[in-house]
Symmetry: C2
Subunit: 385 residues, 2 copies
């Protein structure tokens, strides 16, 4: 097992009708800015519930944070947070709103040009405006971690930053708030969480026995519950499991003490930045090809995955690895997510563009061995066509 | 899944040579009191490492905290913490030292008679002196939770309290510090952690899919690693897995959103208070009999346990339940821990005494259904003889 430091101070309020409990989590007298996305929280009544819970606080709103939240939009909110002397931010939505809010929270107290925060991957952040979240879309795990992914349109760049000051102080996880999600967003969330686990699991063995068991437990739960959620969108327990799994998939726990990959994510980010494909869909395309291309390098863990997650015990090592990759792809397709670039109208020309962007962003050595150069990524993308 | 609130702010510093990192976790200028047990940390060099790390701080020591730490001993330390104006406590040892330190930390700032803290199960605590831990004995999980068990000799009482103010601010988990443990303490630790998981897992199903998978993952890891640790006490990865599993077994995670039992613990505490039997050994005696007596009530989860933990698929439901209980007992015995009261020179007379103490402590309705009265406990104890 590798050495690690683990610290996650976010308080989780899980269950139905927990929004009413947020007032006691926010310092009395705070000026609270509610941040949100396209307005579905207004239609579904979440906004009303929040405002009822925040009676007695000064409340402002900033809507319109888009999927793959942009620097351009977020900087408008940063200006308002400063001008209105906001003390606390409440992000209501999914990973994009929460990621965007992390940037707003850090940028509002940042000395200098806030794009630096992304270019230095968070290294120069020292503090942030405190914030909580009300999660409506289980997927990214942003509600219980200190990382965010931000896009800058003018540079076609989608970059990551993380800093301990942007852990949410609390997050409300009410599974019923995900009942009204479109099927596409639900499926995206399940696949996103699945790939988050894979990035921290499918590397090389370091005798992290408990981390492996936890990762396998998350994958098995997603395999069981994902298809059920498509069939019966209002099954509370199914949604509860998906919501809690998505949080646990990226709250630092399963990745503590083990190597991590993240090559699929880095390639996926460039595809989203260039072509606007949903984040989870880029992962569903890239992961199977990544597994195939690196099957020798990942052999031991891939065989463990075949055995413990897919219960494959027959045939040669090679046959079981091939089957595990095929089953992974089939699961994504069964969730309604195409796993080929062609389905997103992306052709061969993408290969060169993605590789150029990876180089531009200094991402020349991806993967758990920091050994994957852009030209090998090009071959992997060719297998995604 | 049941509603829950989850919050665990303890920072874990995991790995070899992490003691050197503690200085940056303690406010500069603090007067630090090091609390410890029988002195093994002095012999093994842990004390020297700590003192080296604490250069520049004012340091005091309080040794002699016994297994099943007593109010009588701990109150001596409380007096010193007050008199010496200690700002921060550093507990170095296993669960007893850490539990004792939690009581010291809360009692030093408590208005009134500190035994109240136990009699009200922590309800009246409002604050505590901040403290960290250096763990040497993986077992109780106390290093990452806010509960403690304290004994008062004059009352033959062993009671529990918990309060968020007694989460350690940090805990150092260095698996090499457990290399020198006597076999008996190692075995106790593995069994203690195993039963902690069982108390939160073997109840009734609430569709907590992910909690079940995590619990099963912890149990499977203990089954794999426990016997290896007895054979090769200096295998780092084996010790690392046991240490991290014991922490995760009782840090609030696997119990969030599911029912909990704890009847085995409550009965075990009385056996320890009356007869001085090691805590884990009381659990190893009581758990198999508890499982047997309540097999119908726990049937669904017991069958799941039989299948997923012991891989039992042949035979009737009854046969698989019987076999799973027998395998559990056999595992404890294989770890060198007898599972009958006779092995500890305890006879029939214990039955009445334990039941009387449970009644005296208001523990009349034990278990996940709050349905287990002392007379049924008496029958269970009769099956432990």
């Amino acid at each position: 097992m590798l050495d690690f430091t683990f610290h996650n101070p976010t308080r989780i309020l899980f269950g139905q009708n927990r929004i009413k409990d947020i007032a006691s989590e926010i310092p009395a007298g705070s000026h609270v800015m509610i941040t949100y996305g396209g307005g579905s929280i207004v239609k579904t009544g979440v906004m009303d519930e929040i405002k009822t819970a925040l009676k007695g606080f000064t409340v402002s709103e900033f809507g319109g944070i888009e999927p793959n939240p942009t620097y351009e939009t977020l900087m408008q909110c940063v200006a308002r947070v400063k001008a209105e002397k906001v003390d606390f931010i409440l992000a209501a939505g999914g990973g994009s709103v929460i990621d965007g809010t992390k940037f707003i929270a850090a940028a509002a107290l940042y000395e200098g040009e806030p794009w630096d925060i992304l270019e230095t991957y968070g290294a120069r952040v020292t503090k942030a405006v405190p914030f909580g979240t009300v999660l409506t879309l289980p997927a990214t795990g942003s509600e219980m971690n200190c990382g965010a992914v931000i896009t800058r349109k003018e540079f076609q760049a989608k970059l990551v930053f993380s800093h301990p000051s942007v852990f949410p102080t609390f997050s409300v996880l009410d599974p019923t708030k995900s009942f009204t999600l479109p099927e596409r967003q639900l499926a995206n969330g399940v696949v996103d969480a699945f790939v988050h686990v894979m990035e921290q699991y499918l590397t090389f063995p370091v005798q992290g026995g408990v981390q492996d068991r936890f990762s396998e437990g998350l994958l098995l739960t997603l395999l069981e519950e994902g298809p059920k959620a498509l069939k019966d969108p209002e099954d509370y327990d199914v949604r509860a499991n998906i919501m809690w799994v998505a949080t646990l998939a990226l709250n630092g726990l399963i990745g503590a003490g083990v190597p991590q990959d993240w090559a699929t994510h880095m390639v996926g980010h460039e595809l989203t930045a260039l072509y606007g494909v949903d984040h989870a869909r880029t992962l569903a395309v890239v992961l199977p090809a990544m597994m195939e291309a690196r099957r020798e390098e990942k052999k031991e863990k891939l065989l463990q995955y075949a055995s413990r997650v897919w219960n494959l015990s027959e045939g040669s090592d090679e046959a079981r690895m091939t089957e595990a990759i095929a089953q992974t792809r089939a699961f994504f397709e069964a969730m309604g997510i195409p796993t080929r670039l062609a389905a997103y109208d992306i052709g061969e020309e993408a290969i060169e563009k993605v590789c150029a962007q990876l180089t531009a962003h200094g991402l020349n050595k991806l993967g758990e061995h920091q050994s994957l150069p852009p030209d090998q990524v090009g071959k992997i993308l060719a297998a995604c066509l």
